[in-house]
Symmetry: C2
Subunit: 145 residues, 2 copies
């Protein structure tokens, strides 16, 4: 469905939202371990999410690390896809046709339409906060242990 980069971005963001606060920042190593992701690659990805503090915030130096603001936690999960330049995935034709639309549908368009709408709805309405809350509450996991 998504690229590895985006998977790591989603996992890292959810993990940070669950475990960190402005007072308790997370280092790259902890994040990578907590989400079963390669550390240096995750670092690169967090740079993208941190750019302009769009989604993740960071501070260099001792006791530095990554955290997410309460404001950013309210962003829809879709904003992570946006930051990774993969939001197009949600809206594309499932057969990869550029011209596919209501008036010029591909053979799978009508069937896929409903599914696509639900996918879009999921990513546009579910917030980072909500996913992190789930993980905190019950038996929800963000790694492979």
């Amino acid at each position: 469905m998504f690229s590895k980069s985006t998977e790591y971005a989603l996992r890292a963001t959810i993990y940070i939202a669950q475990k960190s606060s402005k007072e308790l920042k997370l280092g790259i190593k902890a994040i990578a371990e907590g989400t079963d992701s390669p550390p240096s690659f995750t670092a690169k990805i967090l740079q993208e999410l941190t750019r302009d503090n769009k989604i993740i915030s960071s501070v260099s130096g001792p006791n530095g690390g990554f955290y997410i603001t309460e404001e950013a936690k309210k962003l829809p999960v879709r904003s992570i896809l946006d930051a990774m330049d993969e939001d197009g995935m949600l809206y594309r034709c499932i057969l990869g046709l550029n011209q596919c639309s209501e008036t010029k549908p591909c053979p799978m368009h009508i069937q896929y339409k409903h599914i696509k709408e639900q996918l879009i709805n999921l990513f546009e309405t579910k917030t980072i906060q909500e996913l992190a809350a789930d993980i905190r509450d019950g038996e929800i996991f963000i790694n492979n242990d």
Copy 2:
């Protein structure tokens, strides 16, 4: 959603199912043009679909080309994903976790579950024949013209 290879495979198969018969085979050039796909890459992909005549059949030489048997037309669209080794996509965790399951769900599992079921259902029940019939009947398109 899918790789370019799989998109081309889906488009080519549907196109062949709609336009060809054992009597009227289609050349690689016609298929590539009809589906807005790169010819030589499409040729490679058709080799995979033709292997063991699993999905597409082919004949070399003059008046040769690609066609699909009535039997193969009855295969679910999923069999194309199988042939392209991309059927895993339908069943994977949306966050890319190996251990994600009912009993060990990722933060998106419960929400995504319903959508995934519909995706699987679409690809497992819809046949190649049905998609080709749609395209024949009405205003359904398989290219970008």
